[in-house]
Symmetry: C2
Subunit: 481 residues, 2 copies
């Protein structure tokens, strides 16, 4: 390290040391510690009719997403009372975070004009989400509360396939023309920006077709007399309405975007997907992947939001399928009944062998499934992956066989021959498990299935079958059974 660097480091360390001895003024002085606005406190304030105070507290000391969470436990009367205390924007945002039961409760209690106000404040993509979950009579009331133009847009959004970019996009964005100057553009943002979810990326269109994009950062830091055409980026990323929402979200993550423009098949700009929606999509898709990997059919609800019977319904198919597949293992073992009668201690090794095989297989399948999900591994890497896994398997099987052989000898569970045959079975199991584990997800991807279904449970069952076949083939030869 250079002397300069050392001196700088020392200086910083001194400062840090010094600051530790200073009194902690901040939290009391600058951000007064507010009493947390809990469920109990809100109910208490309602009881005591402190409406004005509650209104203020809700405005200054509460986020819509947290409020929606709290309101979940309220009855209709209290729910509506709190809701009427909220400012329009907060009311609409809180509404979008509620679950469908609460939304229905609330819609039934609000007057038509109140409903209209909420619908006006909501972003169109959220409105569509709400409509998709409501029963027909509620949908009717909600649609009556929106104007004609909005209804046409809603209808259009409802037509995009589920999980497509079109179904999650927002149709409110700022469009500029290439002849506009920077000053004119900023003026336009001033005029229309208040109703847009994001103003930070503006899109340049010509006859509705997307031809470029400009960041507000760019607009704010360039000369006001330049034209949009001079500063716009024409090498921008975009997606089509029918693209998978997960791909769109991955693009937004990969390139660190605030929003991605969505175009139709004629390159006409129809909407944007914003980074906050992308994060929600990714979180949902990851939960879905993880559920499938554990043999649970995913649903859109949360753990507690799913009833016991729905949980049973989403877990039983794989359990039944895998239980019945185990019949194959059983048939193989039964055909070696005679051998087991002679050497019953052979059965004792089976859980260890199948367990190790299952664990090896799920290690490989999980890493490959994740690699596919984040875009690191593709089908064309199949042989590269297999070659890597085979080498890993050889190393692992050597270590496990030797450790296990020593264990057998030390614990007196068998002679050298037993240690050797179990070791050989172990080695074969590890190699088969790793190859099967890394191959299946790639093949699933290739034929258009979700790679996640190839995870742990299915791999374990396949590996069980091959392990037991190999095991009995080896021991019956070795011990001439």
């Amino acid at each position: 390290m250079s002397e300069d660097w050392k001196a700088a480091r020392q200086k910083v360390e001194d400062l840090v040391e010094e600051s530790k001895n200073m009194p902690d003024l901040a939290e009391t002085d600058y951000l007064e510690e507010r009493e947390e606005l809990t469920e109990e406190r809100i109910l208490e304030m309602l009881e005591e009719r402190q409406y004005k105070e509650l209104k203020e507290e809700l405005e200054n000391n509460m986020y819509p997403i947290d409020l929606a969470d709290i309101l979940e436990n309220f009855d209709q009367k209290h729910l509506v009372m709190v809701f009427r205390l909220l400012a329009k924007e907060e009311a609409a945002e809180t509404f979008t975070y509620m679950n469908s039961d609460m939304r229905e409760l609330l819609i039934n209690a609000l007057t038509d004009s109140e409903l209209e106000e909420v619908m006006e404040e909501m972003y169109l993509d959220d409105t569509v989400d709400v409509l998709e979950e409501m029963p027909a009579n509620v949908v009717d009331r909600l649609l009556m509360a929106t104007d004609e133009e909005t209804r046409v847009q809603i209808n259009q959004l409802l037509q995009y396939p589920e999980d497509s970019a079109g179904s999650v996009m927002n149709v409110d964005y700022i469009a500029l023309r290439k002849e506009m100057t920077v000053a004119e553009s900023i003026l336009k943002i001033r005029q229309v920006g208040i109703n847009k979810e994001t103003i930070y990326t503006c899109y340049v269109t010509e006859k509705r077709k997307l031809i470029g994009q400009v960041d507000v950062k760019e607009l704010l830091t360039t000369s006001e007399s330049k034209t949009v055409e001079e500063i716009m980026d024409t090498n921008m990323l975009y997606a089509h309405t029918t693209d998978d929402q997960e791909d769109v979200a991955r693009t937004i993550t990969k390139y660190g975007l605030i929003a991605l423009p969505i175009v139709d098949h004629e390159m006409c700009m129809v909407g944007i997907v914003t980074v906050d929606d992308a994060m929600v999509v990714l979180q949902e898709e990851t939960t879905e992947d993880i559920s499938i990997m554990a043999g649970v059919n995913p649903n859109e609800e949360t753990y507690f939001g799913t009833t016991v019977l729905e949980h049973v319904k989403s877990r039983i198919p794989w359990l039944l399928f895998l239980m019945l597949s185990a019949t194959v293992t059983q048939m193989i073992m039964n055909s070696y009944e005679a051998a087991l009668a002679v050497m019953p201690q052979l059965a004792g090794f089976i859980p260890m062998l199948t367990g190790t095989g299952g664990n090896c297989g799920s290690q490989s399948s999980t890493l490959v499934i994740r690699g596919l999900a984040v875009g690191e591994i593709e089908f064309k890497d199949l042989f590269k992956v297999i070659w890597k896994e085979v080498r890993i398997a050889v190393c692992i099987s050597l270590i496990l066989s030797v450790v296990n052989g020593l264990r057998i000898l030390l614990m007196g569970q068998g002679d050298a021959m037993m240690a050797f045959t179990i070791g050989l079975t172990m080695a074969c199991t590890v190699v088969i498990a790793k190859v099967v584990g890394c191959t299946l997800p790639l093949l699933a991807k290739k034929v258009g299935l979700d790679p996640a279904i190839m995870a742990t449970p299915l791999i374990s069952t396949l590996v069980d079958i091959s392990t037991i076949s190999v095991y009995f083939a080896i021991v019956s030869t070795a011990f001439a059974l």
Copy 2:
């Protein structure tokens, strides 16, 4: 549906139908289809000395993250040639996306002044990431290429613990004073904004302490004569430098933020974490969770970036531990050797029972681990979760026992007594597996361990032991063995 709504829907459908018959002009007319700039094409252009054309192509037709990916396969000579063709900003961004081997190769080939330019263009958080991975001699050269002030800041960032908010934050943000007018604020953004990673949220500080925040959207859509104090949001979210980076990322996702301010223990503003960094953090943390759930110790590298030996090292500990734990299962089975010698067909049911138990357990543990990760489930929900899982387990065990009993009778694998005992074992196994599966992750969380280590492999092994104990206890009673 109302008539209006039907009419609107019909109109849209007509339009959609119509548009299908229109020729697809867009892609040819507006965005000319460019030849993709592949690895081969870049090498070809270098060979043919088309430097000017390549420079243009790189500028208009390539993203830094994709270029870094392509350059991975280049040798030092070609790497440096391409790098020198890039504009300063693109060069710096491409550099941040490179892996450490490539960075070292490049640093060794660049002149001091070239290096200085790259360092100047890089955001400080990226610089720190680079420094942390480089060998000492390279670090020295890099630090020589930065100015004194930057070096002090780098040193400060290097002192934050790994995975803390401080270690991922960016120290470049826009600070405003509360007395400033909107017009003055916009002017300040104009002057200093060009060097900031995000300008879209500005922070209001007083004696360095964070007292509020203002969105640029707010600044652009309010009267220019208002003061910052009038429009600033004082109920803003923030995190401390020592907070876990995953918590920071979850807050950014939950509240849909573009950036979260980071303060020290005195509420002094020290930096921001932006949404794009949050997305990277979440992706890494999810990959880590998924790896741990499959019994693989996570590392920071990608699948292909990890050598065979490193893969072995990260997979062998759990495999060894679980293999040796299976000794317990084996000892239980060996104590029933006499029973197995009499009824060897008993062994055949073992893989099915342990397999089903393992699958049931991993379903529950996985859902609970994910619930913990996204913040839906907390330790205080322990009994709520157990009660839910017990009810689910009762339903599932009924279905599985009946189906399996019928299978045994139909396939002639045993009599009614056998069907009953296997069914009873199955029912106990499912209940135990579900309860163990949902409890362990919550307990792990409580004692400060990563819940993910309680996933599939460990649960399977525990369930194996309890299944086999229950199985032999039941059959030895039923058949008086």
